[in-house]
């Protein structure tokens, strides 16, 4: 195999521009993690660099070695982890092999890290002031007073309101967004040269995510540090990075500037990763793109290109010979990728991509590969189907009616458990779902959407209002009658692992609903289980396995199969894909759509992700702090939002397109969701609303119509109401 790049490879293409000093330079970093019986080759020969003042995005699915790269730099590898090869240079100083005490002086001082979960990365027994001051005292030798002054200063810098008064607060007294700000403050207290942010916003709400990302970018510019942003979210990197390295199975597979990557990606993995994200502007009738299979087990990485097993363009060469990371050449922008059969640019979401055209495209624009590769017309990378069965009829009668639902959780205090207040989780919500249709509930965490889901499936009893399933009032039933009626109402849970009994085999898990409801003989149950496994795309061998032997996506398939066993008429899906990887999400969403088309059941889909809801739902309800603020179909909500909250929510969603994302003017929703114990008077959104006036505080807005099936509750809507009949319409 000859390749024109191999000579260049010898010359070393990844040294970058030597005139610009690299504040962080990683060369051929190889990290292994020794387990009891195998060695995971978590990071394999990764080279990357960071210039002062720039942000590098490190993207990839989970298990691709992104976090391990970050931890290798910090010298914080888990037990058994070891850098076996390569170097990490911080401003010219070698960090690999540095004695522990010298590394401690660098860590938190010159390199700092922000972790994913702000709750677990803060010490719950120390005040936030002490925690921020700790690093200053350690590294700067400051007195306690000086360190606390510095802490107040940094906390102010990260946007913590009234930092001086807050120094004595404990982490549990702060909201999630504020906690993450404190974590960032700790990282920044010593003005590090390099900040490694490992999934800094994954545990946060979309609205807060936008705020934190803007804060990080802003601070990076003001302090002139370099930032390594590790994330799985292409939307996050699009707007907040200068360059991106795409990582797959321990290798960097593509590396270039952000704009160039999104417009002219060459690696099929990058293209597939981007293609599998559900878009707001997507046509609901189309299937989502998805990457088949799972990343390889890094304890025994495959030979050849590591993506070959999931790549539709893969040839025999890919399975034997591993491509090197080489420069594309020609362009103005430095662009490197590791692929034998590169593609050019993203998938056209609106046009069917011909396999041959794709191949020719590749040969013409890149012209880098040998003739053989171009001759073997590679098949299209992702299967595209327009075969969604259009079973839904818009005229179907209401199956589920939720009428003026109120759910409050009492707060008790003292020895006598006196009720001192209540968490107003849901305050008078009404909506209806037709047979075979999907209703989506969106909103930030704490808006009451999960509570509604639990009330619908009768896991909670409402304080007021009722839930009716085809005329039968579910919320009033109890005991045996309720248990029998439950077969029509099933639930899909967020965490597919937590929702499957770890001590039961999949066969027993799937049989349980039938046993509980006494459906069928043992033989009939077995054949039903087999059918259901086929339907959700799992092999029969799964029956004898335990849940922990499956991947996240497979577990969610089992969860869906279990919900379907009883042929329910309604499935409540609570965040069905938020615990899954981007590439797996698309598979599960496609499956949910297909099964709905085949079985004709209704869904109530609960998610904080507007794109997911938009893809699945016929009608969308936007919730804010226990109230439904807007209901409409996907187009209404996305193109003609009437409520400022809906508009803000749409604006905060990171779009995987750098041009769109970087053009955003920061009109995102400010602040955080108020406490549901004591919600604001009048319109509950008024404390964060840019349009709020006095009227909003005194008078609660009623739902007004903005078109057929489109209602919103706002005094100053962004659209003109259809008729000034301010009757409280509920869908």
């Amino acid at each position: 195999m000859t390749n024109i790049f191999e000579s260049e490879a010898a010359a070393g293409t990844r040294q970058g521009d030597p005139s610009v000093e690299h504040v962080l330079e990683i060369t051929n970093l190889t990290t292994h993690i020794e387990l009891s019986r195998s060695t995971v080759q978590a990071v394999g020969g990764v080279s990357l660099f960071l210039k002062p003042g720039e942000t590098l995005g490190l993207v990839g699915e989970s298990g691709c070695g992104k976090s391990m790269t970050g931890l290798s730099i910090m010298g914080l590898l888990p037990v058994g982890g070891k850098i076996v090869e390569g170097s990490v240079k911080l401003a010219g100083r070698e960090l690999v092999g540095l004695p522990a005490h010298q590394m401690r002086q660098i860590r938190g001082n010159e390199i700092a890290m922000v972790f994913q979960d702000p709750l677990t990365s803060l010490d719950p027994t120390k005040t936030i002031g002490d925690q921020v001051a700790e690093g200053v005292r350690l590294h700067r030798g400051a007195s306690k007073k000086q360190a606390l002054d510095r802490a107040a200063e940094v906390l102010g810098l990260v946007g913590l309101p009234r930092p001086k008064e807050r120094l004595d607060d404990y982490p549990h007294q702060l909201s999630g967004g504020l906690r993450q700000r404190v974590v960032i403050a700790i990282a920044l207290a010593c003005e590090p040269k390099v900040l490694i942010a490992d999934e800094p916003t994954t545990a946060l709400d979309v609205t807060i995510q936008a705020q934190i990302l803007d804060l990080l970018s802003d601070l990076k510019d003001r302090l002139g540090m370099a930032m390594l942003l590790v994330t799985h979210d292409m939307g996050v990197v699009a707007g907040h990075t200068d360059r991106i390295d795409v990582m797959y199975a321990g290798r960097i597979v593509e590396s270039t500037e952000t704009e160039s990557l999104f417009e002219h990606m060459h690696h099929p993995y990058t293209r597939a990763l981007l293609g599998s994200i559900p878009r707001l502007e997507q046509d609901n009738a189309e299937r989502l793109y998805s990457i088949a299979g799972l990343p390889p087990d890094l304890a025994s990485p495959p030979e050849g290109c590591r993506f070959a097993a999931r790549c539709a363009l893969a040839t025999d060469q890919c399975r034997v010979d591993e491509p090197k990371l080489l420069s594309a050449g020609g362009g103005v922008v430095e662009h490197e990728f590791a692929c034998w059969h590169p593609v050019d640019g993203p998938l056209d979401l609106h046009k069917l991509t011909d396999a041959e055209a794709l191949g020719a495209d590749v040969a013409a624009t890149i012209g880098t590969d040998d003739e053989e590769g171009a001759e073997q017309a590679p098949p299209s990378i992702v299967v595209r189907e327009r075969d969604m069965v259009q079973l839904r009829s818009a005229e179907s009668e209401a199956l589920l009616v939720v009428d003026n639902l109120v759910k409050e959780f009492p707060i008790t205090a003292g020895i006598l458990q006196r009720k001192v207040g209540s968490v107003k989780a849901v305050s008078g919500v009404s909506f209806a779902v037709g047979t075979g249709r999907t209703f989506g509930l969106v909103g930030e965490s704490g808006c009451g959407k999960t509570t509604i889901g639990r009330v619908i499936v009768a896991l909670e009893k409402p304080n007021e209002g009722k839930v009716t399933l085809s005329g039968v009032q579910i919320s009033e039933m109890r005991g045996r009658k309720l248990r029998t009626n439950r077969r029509d109402l099933q639930m899909m849970f967020q965490d597919p692992y937590a929702s499957l009994d770890p001590r039961m085999r999949v066969g027993s898990i799937l049989r349980e609903p039938l046993q509980v409801q006494g459906v069928g003989s043992a033989g009939q149950q077995m054949s039903r289980i087999h059918d259901m496994l086929d339907e959700v795309g799992l092999p029969r061998t799964a029956l004898e396995r335990f849940p922990h032997e499956f991947s996240g996506g497979q577990r969610q398939r089992i969860g869906l199969a279990r919900a379907l066993m009883l042929n329910p008429r309604l499935i409540v899906a609570d965040e069905p894909v938020s615990a899954l990887d981007v590439s797996i999400r698309a598979q599960v969403l496609n499956l949910m759509r297909r099964l709905q088309a085949e079985h004709g059941m209704s869904y109530v889909v609960i998610s904080h992700d507007l794109a997911v809801v938009k893809y699945l739902a016929d009608e969308i309800g936007v919730m804010y702090l226990g109230k439904m603020v807007e209901v409409g179909n996907g187009d209404d909500i996305y193109h003609r939002p009437a409520h400022p909250y809906t508009a803000g929510l749409i604006n905060t969603i990171p779009i995987p397109d750098p041009r769109v994302e970087k053009a955003k003017d920061g009109a995102a929703i400010k602040g955080e969701i108020p406490s549901p114990i004591d919600p604001p008077s009048g319109c509950r959104f008024r404390t964060r609303c840019p349009l709020a006036q006095d009227k909003c505080a005194s008078e609660e807005p009623a739902l007004r119509s903005f078109g057929p099936g489109h209602v919103a509750a706002c005094h100053f809507p962004l659209q003109t109401p259809v008729a000034e009949t301010t009757t409280a319409v509920s869908v």
């Binding site: 025994s300 029998t484 077969r487």
Partner: protein, 308 residues
Amino acid sequence: MATLDSYTKAAPPSKEPLPEGGEVGAVQSGWKLGVREFMSNKLATAGLVVLVLLVLFTFLGPIFYHSDQLNSNLLNTDQGPGAGFPLGTDGNGFDVLGRLMKGGQTSLEIGFFAALIATIIGTLYGAIAGLAGGIVDAVMMRIIDVLLAIPFLFIILIVSVRYSSNVTSLSIVLGVFSWLIPARLVRGEVLTLRVRDFVSAARVMGANRSRLVLRHLVPNALGTVIVNITFQVADAILALSALGFLGFGVQYPGTDWGDQLFDGAGNLNNGYWWLIYPVGVLLIVTVMACNLIGDALRDALDVRLRRR
């Protein structure tokens, strides 16, 4: 590597390339992993071997080593180890080695049965209290608090004086008074389990409470329970020894290790070491073996702690 092969291997021949959800990796079963984890703990393996040897010694030993344990032989009392009596004889002229076997049978049987009774009562009690919650839970737990405050040895003494002491009655008495700790453990476990999604999922299916307890809560608390059994066995053997030492153990001519320890203690100053050291060592070794096994089981069964 098995996982890799199943991944790269071409599809099952019959239908489309791969099931949509992907192949299921050939991962070892949880039990195998657990056994492997257990065996990798050297001390625990040693404990298990010792326990097996002890069971063989006490239960199979008498078949190969005959000694009269029914009729006392007053001509041969308190003989030192020597020909005919490898470990000498006790004050009633019984052969000490044979006596150790016979006493060991009683001690191990009672220890095991008492632990089993305690665990079954405790697990169900704890699971019900944990699932019920609220006032029921509070009342059930206060009952345990009250019972824990009563010195149980004292009550056992009264009961065992009142009723004839044989293996069954002693097992029941010891078992009935040692379920309190497992009950607390299981209740704590159930409190965290009952809010887990899989319990909600079972409720959404329409499962009733007995199903929740028996199919979901108890099996998932089983790791804790099994570990606790080994400690319970050790505790019961010790409690039985205490009873025997105080003279309330198994009735003559039956015996248990506590009984023998009492005999030995009476002769401590006579220099009759063979009456006290062998039984003392056996007792310590048994209890230690149980505890080592328990510690290793805790590591092996805890899915969350399991290394991949």
